[in-house]
């Protein structure tokens, strides 16, 4: 049949044998017929409708699982197939080749190289690799930034290159390809590489890490320091770079669309940036879990594996100074309880522990949930403006039953649980102190209470010791209660009474916070030491009461901050230094 058809076609062509120019014209016409321009708004609308269809399909599939009617099951299976294909088709309409944003890079590189007095050649590979339009737009700026960096910092001056035995002209290669359902982008330069020692030094100088911590860091960790806000290794600040703004933005922008960045750098040989991004953001596979009675979706991009601890699972969970961990094949997996993070009541009836092992940044952690339900394709929908401030949720979706479920922001969750705190917290503290005059400080606070009604806090740095004293050791000297403490007479300050709060009856022992200044100690008598927290606080209502600095929110509770000198003045205990 086919042969026949081809033969006939060939025949007709032969017989007609149209003149050359006409053929060319014909082809052009064909091209214009085979592609049309479509308004992006319309495509978005179609995409939304397909999203709705996917939801409806999920709903019908749920019904189907309980049905015995074969005709119905068949029909719904066909619906399933067609929907999937339609979804893929529509997704394709939104795909654009990455070359669309690349085509301006040669010019960027040429101009910048001329400005810096460098010779740079740009090679583009895989410009036809297709990406969803929204993803493409999101990576445009980060890519431009990395390329500018490569020209400005990476590639050396021609003379330096020749001296190092390299070709005069620097080479930057941009590669795009599909791999494992993701788009990979690589930016390779053959420049000087990232000077690890300089990065380390700068980070220490700028207080982003402590020198002790820096000494323990692996090469990879040091390289990742360049993603911290405020770090720049450039000696001088130019129009182009060196202002320390940029790589952190690159990273956050890429992570915002669910991608990852990775750097490799060999001194003297060059640097490679590897960016992995999802093909599309609109419809993603996700795992649904239940916690505290609500359903949540977790993007599968973040998912590593699922662990179920049968029976009394809590036995397998160990504590490392208060932080729960689970031994997963020999290495410790920090655990985060979703119920606790979201301030929901814990599940009753400890039957089995479900751990969702997730990847955030470079670390993995286990998220403990009440129930693991299913994986399904979900349509990501934005949350309203009113919820924009929330770092816990990346968006919402509508489940098969029509109810809304929230999509967990795995990275935000990990940050909230202080999993990524080591470097991050130090940075945050450094910045808030340096950048603004506002009294924001991340400090360790000792939280305690003096009666039932509220809690108080003191910076831990002011406290020398915490003591439990026998009430019988308390003596009276003048108007004050004192104790003998380390060869000195230490006055005791009843905090509640001094502040005019209702004091509580003293129990079996006295909880005393020892505050020392210039060799003199004072004991602050409180009812109970509650905890030590690390928190960035904003002091409000300053100086409204003697003995109090003001109040702040610590662990979601309003906490009064104690002003020890003020308190001592109020208690009429002199704290002057002995001359």
């Amino acid at each position: 049949m086919d042969d026949n058809l081809n033969a006939r076609r060939g025949e007709s062509r032969d017989t007609l044998s149209p003149p050359e120019p006409e053929v060319a014209e014909h082809r052009e016409l064909d091209v214009s017929h085979s592609s049309i321009r479509v308004d992006v708004g319309l495509l978005d609308k179609v995409m939304n409708l397909v999203g709705e269809l996917v939801l409806a399909r999920n709903q019908i599939l749920q019904f189907t699982s309980g049905q015995a009617d074969t005709a119905f099951v068949n029909a719904s299976q066909r619906l399933n197939l067609v929907t999937t294909e339609l979804q893929e088709g529509v997704m394709k309409t939104r795909m654009q080749p990455v070359g669309k944003i690349w085509n301006k890079f040669p010019r960027v590189v040429r101009d910048l190289a001329a400005e810096c007095g460098k010779e740079v050649e740009l090679e583009l590979e895989g410009a036809g690799t297709e990406l969803d339009k929204t993803v493409l737009e999101a990576i445009k700026d980060p890519l431009t930034h990395i390329i500018r960096n490569a020209v400005d910092h990476g590639v050396e001056l021609p003379e330096t290159r020749v001296a190092a035995g390299k070709p005069r002209t620097g080479h930057i290669r941009l590669r795009a390809f599909h791999e494992g359902g993701k788009v990979n982008l690589e930016i390779l330069d053959d420049g000087a590489g990232i000077p690890l020692e300089r990065v380390k030094q700068k980070a220490i100088e700028q207080g982003l890490v402590t020198s002790g911590r820096a000494a323990q860091m692996s090469e990879r960790e040091i390289l990742n320091l360049i993603f911290l806000p405020g770090l720049s290794t450039a000696g001088k600040v130019s129009d182009i770079s060196g202002r320390g703004v940029g790589m952190d933005v690159v990273k956050t922008n890429i992570e915002k669309i669910g991608g990852t960045v990775d750097i490799q750098s060999v001194p003297g040989q060059g640097t490679t940036f590897r960016i992995k991004i999802p093909l599309t953001l609109a419809i993603i596979p996700a795992l649904t879990v239940t916690s505290g009675g609500d359903r949540f979706a977790i993007p599968q991009a973040n998912l590593l594996e699922l662990v179920r601890l049968e029976g009394n699972g809590s036995a397998a969970i160990e504590m490392v100074s208060g932080a729960p961990v689970y031994r997963l094949r020999g290495s410790l997996l920090p655990l985060v309880y979703l119920n606790r993070e979201l301030k929901k009541p814990a599940a009753s009836g400890e039957q089995a522990t479900n751990i969702v092992v997730l990847q955030a940044d470079d670390r993995s952690f286990g998220l403990v949930v009440d129930e693991i339900n299913d994986t399904e394709e979900i349509v990501v929908k934005p949350l309203g403006k009113q919820l924009k401030g929330s770092s816990n949720f990346a968006g919402g979706t509508i489940m098969g039953d029509g109810q809304v479920a929230l999509i967990l922001d795995v990275l935000g969750l990990a940050q909230k649980a202080n999993l990524l705190a080591e470097i991050g917290a130090e940075t945050a503290a450094h910045h808030s102190r340096g950048a603004s005059e506002v009294q924001d400080n991340r400090e360790l606070w000792l939280v305690f209470r003096v009666n039932r009604s509220g809690q108080l806090a003191l910076p831990l740095s002011l406290i020398s010791r915490l003591e439990e004293l026998e009430p019988s050791t308390v003596e009276v000297s003048g108007n004050h209660e004192v104790v003998q403490y380390r060869g000195q007479i230490m006055p005791l300050v009843p905090v509640a009474k001094t502040l005019g709060m209702e004091p509580e009856n003293r129990g079996q022992s006295l909880s005393v916070i020892v505050y020392s200044q210039e060799g003199r100690s004072v004991g602050l008598v409180v009812s109970e030491i509650l905890e030590i927290v690390e928190e960035e606080i904003t002091v409000e209502g300053r100086g409204q009461q003697a003995g109090l600095l003001g109040s702040a929110v610590i662990h979601q509770r309003v906490t009064n901050l104690l002003d020890v000198p003020g308190l001592l003045a109020a208690a009429q205990i002199p704290m002057e230094t002995r001359a």
């Binding site: 999203g51 709705e52 309203g384 009113q386 929110v553």
Partner: protein, 151 residues
């Protein structure tokens, strides 16, 4: 007959008080439906509802105005308003009629009004038999100032 000064208000009740929103800002009024709670969000946020495939945030207007909570068993009504960030639903006790009011009857909110109610009102229309409190929807929807998890 001066038509220019007539305004239409979609009215509703909250704890016996008579409120109104300019009718052109209201997208639709729908029955109460199941909501998904948002953990850790400000307590004025009642939850999320599915409005024909669109996720809409519902704000409990009673809490927003600092009024006492609805009693158990009382089912609120969703008044979906158009805002620049998308539709938002306001939970009210009961929906009233659309009333026409004259600009001349308008007066700024009395200074004796306390707290949040005063900030969130554009003013009061003195109707024949009662007062219509005109809600400033933009301010009512701006919950960014409210701390998360304010118990």
């Amino acid at each position: 007959m001066n038509m220019g000064t007539e305004k239409q208000f979609c009215t509703f009740y909250l704890q016996g008080l008579f409120f109104g929103i300019e009718v052109e800002k209201v997208q639709e009024v729908i029955r109460y439906q199941g909501m998904t709670e948002v953990p850790l969000a400000a307590n004025v946020i009642a939850g999320l509802i599915n409005l024909r495939g669109q996720i809409v945030t519902a704000i409990d207007l009673r809490k927003r105005l600092g009024l006492p909570s609805r009693e158990a068993g009382e089912v609120p009504v969703n008044v979906v308003v158009r805002a620049d960030g998308g539709a938002v639903s306001l939970l009210v006790d009961e929906i009233g009629d659309v009333v026409e009011v004259d600009e001349k009857m308008f007066e700024a909110a009395p200074s004796t009004l306390k707290g949040q109610s005063r900030e969130l009102l554009t003013g009061v229309f003195k109707l024949k038999d009662k007062l219509l409190l005109a809600l400033d929807t933009e301010k009512a929807l701006d919950v960014s100032q409210l701390a998360e998890q304010s118990n």
